[in-house]
Assembly symmetry: D3
Homo-oligomer: 132 residues x 6
C-alpha cells in the first residue's frame, strides 16, 4: 500500500458545549496543522499516488473555506461541537467529494482511501480515516 | 475510524542484558516522548473520541509511576529488558486498565483500541497497538 | 552565556484591525506554542540557570490567564492588535514581573534576560527579547 | 502488534517526465528523511522487535547506495520516475532483501512487515507498506 | 528586540568542488527549509514587525527564482560552491533588496536586520545574519 | 555572521543533589538532542563555515565519551550537578579544545564562537554560548 501526505494549516475560533470541555466552553481558537493522506494499492501511470500539486491545491481549497473564521457562526456547523476529531472528518469528506468530482485528476479516481490528521498543539492531535 | 492522540514524556534510567544491546548494557537513561492514541469507529454524544482532559490526566498518571526512576530497580520489571517497544506495551496496557475501570469517562468504554508510541530520540521510536 | 527554555501552549480567539491583516480582520483564533528562554552569564549554586520546575509553573500561570479566551474581550488588550509579536512581549513582561517578585526563586534574581517565542503555525513564529 | 522505526536521510538529484510534474521536470533535488518501520506480532527472546543497531546500519547501507547521486543516471532507475512514493518502495524492498538474507539478525526473520516513509519537505511525505 | 519568522522550502540540485566535500562533489540535491527572520526594536503602527503576508510572498518569490533548478547551471553561481551557509546569505541579501525597494511595505523600512536559516536535513542547518 | 549547526544525541543516567530538583534527585536518565553551532564572520576558501563532515565526526566523538553511561560515576563530574545547561557547557568546551587542536581542519581556526543546545524533552532545552 502506498500513500502521499500533504500539510496545510487552519486558524479558527470556536467554542464547545458540554461540561466535558471545561474552559474550552468559552470562545477560544486554534491553529490546526492539517495533514491529508491519500492511499492506493498501486501507483498510477506517472509512478505516483496522486498529483501532489493538485492535492496541495485542493487541500488548501478545503481549508480556505473555514480559515480565519469563527466556526460557531458557520451554518455548516450549527449545533455541532467542532472538535478536532470531527473537523478531521469534515476535511476528509470534503476532499473525498473533490476526488470523486475529478478535481485531483483522473488518476486520483484510483485512490483507495483518505486519512486526515489535525494537530491542535504539539501535544494533541486527532485523525479520521475513510475509504473512497 | 477516528483517533485522538495526547503526548507526555518520561525520563528514566535502565540497562539491558544481552550482547545485542552493545554499550546499552551499561546503566544509562532515556527521555521518552510518549504518544497515546485512542481509536473508535464513531464519535460519542459530545462529538469526541475521548475526553482529552481525562486522557491527558490518565496518561500523565501512568507515566508518573515510572518517571525519574531507575527501571532496573522496579519490581514490575525484574528480569525484563525494558526496551522501548516493551515499555510502549506497558503504557498501553496500563491505559487499557484505566479505560476499563472507567477513569477515562463512561463514553470511553466505546473505545476500540489504543496505540502507544515511545520516541527514544529524534531518530528512533517504537509502538505497540492493541484492542480494548 | 547560559540559557534554559521551557514550552507551553495557548489557545485563543481574536481579530485584527487594519487592512494589512486581510482575512485575519475576521474573528479567528490560534494555538501558540510559547517558548520562554531565561538567560544568565553564570550558573547558580545548584549549577542551573533557573529552577525548571518553577519556570514551567510560572510560564503556565502566565499563559493560563489568557488560555481559552477571546482576546478581543480582555480589558488588558482593549484597542490593541494582539499580534504574535505583541503577545510575545506580553508573556515576557509578565514573566519578568514574576522573576522580580521572587516567584522563580531567589536564585532567579541573577537572570540577565528573557526571550519569548510564540509559534502561530509550523511556518510562522515571532519573538521578543528583553533584559531583566 | 509491535513496531520499531529508525530514521536516516538521503540527498539526491533527479528530474521527472510527465506534464503532471510541472517545474519538477527540470533537474532538481531533494533531501529525504527516510523512516523505516519494522513490525511483528510478538517480541523476540531479547524483548525487542529488531536489533536497533543492525536496523540502523542496514538502513544506512540501503541509503548509501543512492546518497549524493543523480538518480537520472542510476541504471536501477532507467526510464522510471523516481517519485517519493516509488523511492519509499525501493527502500522497503531493499530492506526486505536484507532481512531475508539474515543481515538484521536471526531474530529478524520473525518480522511481519516493513513500512518506509520518505519526507521530501516539512509539508509533504510518502509511504510504502509491505509484508515480509 | 522583536522578530518575526516565516518558513518556505526549496528543492535544488548542485555539486561542490573541493576535497573537503567528499561524496558531495558528485551532482546531488537538497530540500532546504528556509526560515527568514525579520528584526526591529519597536513595533510599527499596526503593532507588528512586518506584514507577514508580504513577508511570506516575498520569501516565496526569492525562493522561486532557484526552486526546481540545478544551481551548477545558474549564472548567478558560476564558479561558486553553493553551500548551505552561502545560500543563506543569498536569500538574506535578496530579501534585503526587496525590503529596501519597498516590497515588504513602507513600515518594513524600519526593520533593523534579517537572519536566514536553511535546514538541509533534520541534523544539519546553517544561518546568515545581517543588518538592514 | 554565518553559522552551521549539526545534531547528535546522547543517552545517559544521572541524579541531582539539592531540594530544588524534587523527584529528579532520584537516579533517572535522559536523551539529549545535542546541537552544536559554529560561528564566524566570513566564509573560508571553500565557501563554508566548517567542514560539516569533520564537525559531525568531532561532535559524535565528544558525545561518545559520555554516551550510555551513568554520569554519577564519571570522575569528570564528581560532586557536580550535571544539569542540562552544565552539560551544554561541557560539550561546547570539549568542541573548543578540538577546534584549537586542529581536529576540525585548519580553516576552523577562523571560527569565532560555539553554541551548544541540549534538548532534554520536547518542552525543555538549554544552551551555552562561548567565544573561541
Amino acid at each position: 500500500m502506498f500513500s502521499v501526505t500533504v500539510r496545510e494549516h487552519l486558524m479558527i475560533a470556536h467554542s464547545f458545549r458540554g461540561e466535558v470541555f471545561g474552559p474550552a466552553q468559552r470562545l477560544h481558537g486554534a491553529t490546526y496543522l492539517v495533514d491529508a493522506t491519500f492511499r492506493r494499492a498501486e501507483l498510477d501511470a506517472d509512478n505516483i499516488v496522486v498529483d501532489i500539486g493538485l492535492a496541495t491545491k485542493e487541500l488548501a481549497g478545503v481549508v480556505a473555506a473555514y480559515n480565519y473564521r469563527n466556526l460557531d457562526e458557520e451554518p455548516d456547523f450549527a449545533g455541532v461541537n467542532t472538535s478536532t476529531e470531527y473537523l478531521a472528518k469534515v476535511v476528509a469528506d470534503r476532499l473525498a467529494e473533490r476526488v470523486h468530482a475529478g478535481a485531483l485528476g483522473e488518476g486520483a479516481r484510483g485512490l483507495a482511501g483518505i486519512t486526515v490528521t489535525l494537530h491542535e498543539s504539539h501535544i494533541a492531535w486527532a485523525s479520521y480515516e475513510r475509504a473512497l
